[in-house]
């Protein structure tokens, strides 16, 4: 196609773009003085935390800002044409034809009432006026390109009949139908599981190369951007703070925010005791509460009063000695960018304590109705949510439980908390069996001992009760103190513990940021002096800079109280950073269990291997083996026969006799404390390569 080649200059040129949203009360500037260029065939990453304006830039390019948004300054040039001069007709012609967009939630961005085929063929039919039959041929071709099996069937399917990964591939296919010259991807993989994400990212990279499409890749994940992009633009609070080539920015950053961002994400080598993360102090400013001068000033380590808080915009300036590398820092030339920030506070690794929790061969099966509306009433299916779970947890230890959605993590948490009782097996707390004691029957001490921190900060606090009341209630229930005054003191002490100001006691949850809510959740969990805390993805919904602070806090409290932390996560970087031992789960089975070092080094279980390879790492020195898993996680309603992982396993062909399909592998003891459920021979396991290699600096 000719669209990609007809112009010589940059495909997209954004100059000093400013976008504001207008509400009844005030104008809220969302993007200020933003400039970026995308050359043909180039992939530019736009990185920043939520609320920094990165998605607004994308919508500004598409000129789709809704009723309240307006471009208040600057220009957007697409192939040299100023987008502001296009009339609605011309604009429609550009949309979907020359610029296509891929969105965060594939399910939401496909029309549920239209067949996939119709949604795909519509694009070239509108823009190129080709016939239905031709459009269909093209659709089949593109579907093959996005590596979906059985294209004919897919074209006739409705979106809900496809899995999340397949839906995202359809959205990508839809974007490619008219072979656009620019592709805007807005967090395209955030809603997907890690292994599915890896496959989609790979696909996008390959297709970008194949079609020669330029890409604007919006993400909050530095690792993903490293894997996909040539250039990067870091945004903070509505402004671009640093742009440059991936290698320049990753290895020789010239903005304090970029630097702080990298210091707050767990990279290989970070360790909670020896090399802890450094959280960015303070909070992200709200759009109408931005400080004078440099937006990052109040949170910056290099802040200089009088210079950085002067009420004048900070200009974007080129970094000397680099090509197309710019930063928005007044002290750019003064700061020694290679110097380590502070000597990190090191802590001793505590000795292993006694066993407090022991699970043995725990099984949990559910019966669910097979069909909700039209099925036979008696027909039920057995869901095996947990299958012979066995492990021990020691006092003061962090045990990570790793797996993707549907692996049985939540069921495990419910069993432990007593919200459900086991089908078979035993759970021992301090040597006493509690597996058949539901939470109503547990005594106050047992309930207070095992507490939970939840994933979604927006859901973890009751929106209509003040923060103080919620903590007080926990204290009341756990029988703390005898008078209201005593509990009030304890509540304020708990706020101190989670490093929140005492005034927060009278605030409503909606007045708090995500990280602050999560801290309240932690305070509430520790109200009864919990000894075992189940943390269900406590930081995955938070922004990178806040993640580190909340993780830190958890570690800190754990060290002080010798708490046993059961850390549920799908993010292997953070697991590697903070856990002592790791348990990998897949479809209700524990496929691997061992110390962190054992699990993160070969021999791996094939699933662990794939997970490790899937996690994007924001470090240019790291080399990863690429293992792309086929397909999606099977449904727990309909698990595969034999080994649960056999449908996606790369190593399956190495096991003879179809053992993987017929038998669930036994748990094998590889080393002291290292167990694995796999049919591979000892020899094959011993010959596995490491997935992550750090290149010599």
């Amino acid at each position: 196609m000719s669209k990609q080649t007809e112009t010589a200059g940059p495909i997209l040129e954004i100059d000093n773009l400013s976008i504001s949203f207008f509400t009844r009360v005030r104008e809220i500037p969302a993007v200020m003085d933003f400039s970026v260029q995308v050359q043909p065939g180039e992939a530019v990453g736009l990185v920043g935390e939520s609320g920094c304006g990165k998605s607004t830039v994308a919508l500004g390019v598409m000129r789709d800002l809704g009723a309240n948004g307006r471009i208040v300054g600057g220009t957007v040039r697409f192939k040299g044409r100023d987008m502001a001069t296009l009339d609605p007709e011309e604009l429609r012609d550009v949309r979907g034809n020359e610029i296509a967009m891929i969105y965060q939630e594939p399910m939401a961005s496909l029309n549920p009432a239209m067949r996939v085929g119709q949604q795909l063929t519509e694009v070239p039919m509108i823009h190129e006026g080709i016939s239905q039959a031709d459009a269909r041929t093209r659709a089949l071709e593109v579907i093959r390109d996005v590596k979906l099996p059985d294209p004919e069937r897919i074209l006739n399917a409705y979106p809900h009949q496809l899995s999340g990964g397949q839906q995202q591939r359809i959205v990508i296919a839809m974007a490619l139908m008219s072979k656009p010259s620019l592709l805007i991807l807005d967090e395209p993989t955030t809603a997907l599981d890690v292994t599915v994400e890896a496959a989609v990212v790979n696909l996008v990279k390959d297709l970008g190369r194949k079609y020669g499409t330029a890409m604007l890749f919006i993400s909050h994940n530095l690792g993903l951007v490293l894997e996909t992009c040539d250039r990067i633009c870091v945004m903070y609070s509505g402004e671009a703070v640093e742009t440059g080539s991936i290698h320049d920015v990753f290895d020789q950053m010239h903005h304090p925010y970029t630097q702080a961002l990298f210091r707050s994400i767990p990279l290989p080598g970070a360790d909670k005791n020896a090399r802890p993360l450094v959280a960015i102090p303070g909070n992200f400013p709200l759009p109408h509460e931005r400080p004078p001068g440099c937006n990052f000033g109040p949170r910056c380590d290099y802040f200089q009063p009088g210079l950085c808080d002067r009420d004048a915009p900070v200009p974007m300036e080129p970094v000397e000695g680099f090509e197309r590398h710019q930063t928005r820092c007044l002290r750019n030339t003064e700061i020694d960018w290679s110097a380590p920030l502070h000597p990190p506070v090191q802590t001793e690794k505590p000795a292993q304590g006694p066993v407090v929790l022991k699970m043995e061969k725990v099984k949990k099966y559910y019966e669910v109705a097979a069909n909700v509306l039209f099925g036979k009433a008696r027909e039920t299916k057995l869901v095996k949510a947990n299958e012979s779970l066995s492990f021990e947890a020691h006092e003061g230890e962090t045990l990570a439980i790793v797996g993707e959605s549907g692996c049985g993590k939540s069921t495990f948490a419910k069993l432990l908390m007593g919200l459900e009782t086991v089908t078979d097996g035993s759970i021992q707390l301090d040597g006493r069996n509690i597996e058949h004691t539901p939470i109503e029957a547990r005594n106050t001490q047992d309930v207070a001992d095992i507490q939970m921190v939840f994933q979604n900060p927006f859901d973890t606090l009751n929106p209509s009760m003040t923060v103080g009341r919620q903590i007080l209630r926990a204290l009341e229930v756990f029988g703390h103190g005898t008078s209201d005054d005593e509990r009030m003191d304890e509540m304020l002490r708990l706020l101190d513990l989670v490093k929140l100001p005492r005034e927060f006691a009278t605030r409503m949850p909606r007045q708090l940021s995500g990280g602050q809510k999560q801290r309240v959740g932690i305070a509430r969990a520790f109200a009864g002096g919990a000894r075992i805390v189940v943390a269900d993805e406590p930081v995955s919904a938070l922004d990178v800079s806040v993640q580190a602070a909340v993780t830190d806090l958890l570690m800190d409290i754990q060290r002080k109280h010798k708490t046993t932390l059961l850390f549920i996560s799908h993010d292997l970087s953070i697991v590697r950073y903070l856990s002592d031992r790791v348990m990998v789960m897949y479809l209700g089975h524990v496929v691997e269990l061992g110390t962190t070092d054992q699990v993160f080094a070969p021999p791996y279980h094939p699933y662990t291997e794939a997970l490790l390879s899937a996690v994007p790492i924001a470090d240019t020195h790291v080399e990863k083996k690429h293992i792309v898993l086929e397909g999606d996680v099977p449904s727990a309603l309909n698990p595969p026969s034999g080994c649960p992982f056999q449908t996606r396993c790369h190593w399956k062909s190495k096991v003879s006799g179809g053992l993987c399909e017929s038998q669930v592998p036994p748990s094998r003891h590889l080393a002291e404390g290292h167990e694995i459920k796999c049919h591979l021979s000892d020899e094959q396991l011993a010959n596995m390569d490491a997935v992550i290699k750090t290149a010599a600096e």
């Binding site: 429609r92 969105y103 409705y158 809900h160 509306l373």
Partner: protein
């Protein structure tokens, strides 16, 4: 699917049984029977006369026995009265008691006799349903298209001037009870005080031959309420669909606005109103009662008021059964229709 319908039928029969039992209980309370005796006999009956009247006509039997007889589950009574006449429940007109069948209840297809209209309940209900059906048909013809149109136009561009105007209109009509709108409409369009004598203030003549002049006001009165309600639902649903991600996808694919509305939004936006329209039927029934009373149109609703105010037990029971069937059948249709309209729920 078959099982689904069977289960629904089961629920329907159970509901009808419970409901008729309640109606039976309420209408057979002593003061109500006394009222019945007096309206059937004469108003100056003494207490003893009332007792004998009730005993002679089988009303003095235990409640559950009477209910069983109505159902056709127990043999109908044969009572030799104090006046020497022998009366049987299953007696049809003047035929002798000896030849009457033993059972004559709902199970045998006999719905009893209306004490007010002096006809078979089955016949009365069939007549009245036909009349009300005619009314309902025109109501639907007027109401559904206009409601959907208003809702779609309003929801298409949320917050626009059209939206505000149409929304206010639909709130207003859905907040106006039929007896208020009916009175206002009659005052404006049918009385000489305002001067617009366009329509007739009564619809009695529409029972035989419905014309625009004598039928439009009752139809409009019932429709107005429904129009507002359905339009509000449609607007909400349309507005929600228009802000959804897939509409943005379509917009950014370069689909033109009319095409977005027609091809992408409409089907999704109509799922919710469909359910609402179906569930609107029981409501319409209510409006029908008021409007038929107001316009003197002797249909189902009018019969209900007549039966209820005269404690016409068997007619009331028949009417209750019909209402239950209407309510539950529309519910079932709305459930099934929802599934077919909404591709997200798979039918197996």
């Amino acid at each position: 699917m078959g099982r689904f319908i069977l289960r629904r039928m089961g629920v329907m029969v159970l509901t009808a049984l419970c409901l008729t039992l309640i109606v039976f209980f309420m209408t057979n309370l002593a003061p109500n029977l006394e009222k019945l005796a007096k309206t059937q006999g004469n108003f100056r009956m003494s207490d003893e006369e009332v007792t004998t009247y009730l005993a002679d006509h089988g009303y003095a039997q235990p409640m559950l026995v009477k209910y069983g007889q109505w159902l056709g589950f127990l043999p109908g009574y044969v009572i030799e009265g104090t006046d020497g006449l022998t009366r049987a429940k299953c007696q049809g007109g003047a035929e002798p008691v000896e030849t009457t069948p033993t059972f004559c209840g709902v199970l045998q297809g006999d719905w009893g006799t209306s004490t007010v209209i002096k006809k078979d309940v089955g016949v009365v209900i069939a007549d009245k349903l036909a009349l009300t059906g005619k009314l309902m048909f025109w109501v639907l013809v007027l109401m559904v298209p206009s409601a959907l149109l208003i809702g779609i136009l309003a929801g298409m561009r949320e917050g626009s001037r059209t939206d505000r105007a149409l929304s206010t209109v639909s709130i207003t009509t859905s907040a106006t009870p039929e007896y208020v709108s009916g009175v206002l409409l009659i005052a404006v369009f049918a009385s000489s005080a305002v001067g617009l004598k366009w329509f007739k203030g009564t619809a009695t003549s529409a029972m035989d031959t419905a014309t625009f002049e004598n039928f439009f006001l009752p139809v409009l009165t019932i429709s107005l309420y429904g129009v507002g309600y359905i339009a509000r639902m449609t607007r909400a649903s349309m507005a929600e669909v228009m802000t959804s991600q897939y509409i943005r996808t379509a917009r950014l694919k370069g689909v033109s606005f009319p095409n977005i509305v027609v091809k992408h939004a409409l089907r999704n936006a109509l799922i919710a109103p469909f359910t609402v329209i179906m569930l609107q039927f029981p409501w319409l029934l209510n409006g029908v009662v008021i409007v038929e009373t107001l316009f003197n149109y002797k249909g189902f609703g009018w019969a209900m008021v007549l039966a209820a105010s005269n404690n016409d037990i068997e007619l009331l029971l028949g009417i209750s059964v019909v209402s239950v069937i209407v309510v539950l059948v529309t519910q079932a249709i709305s459930d099934i229709g929802y599934v077919y309209l909404n591709p997200r729920i798979s039918v197996t």
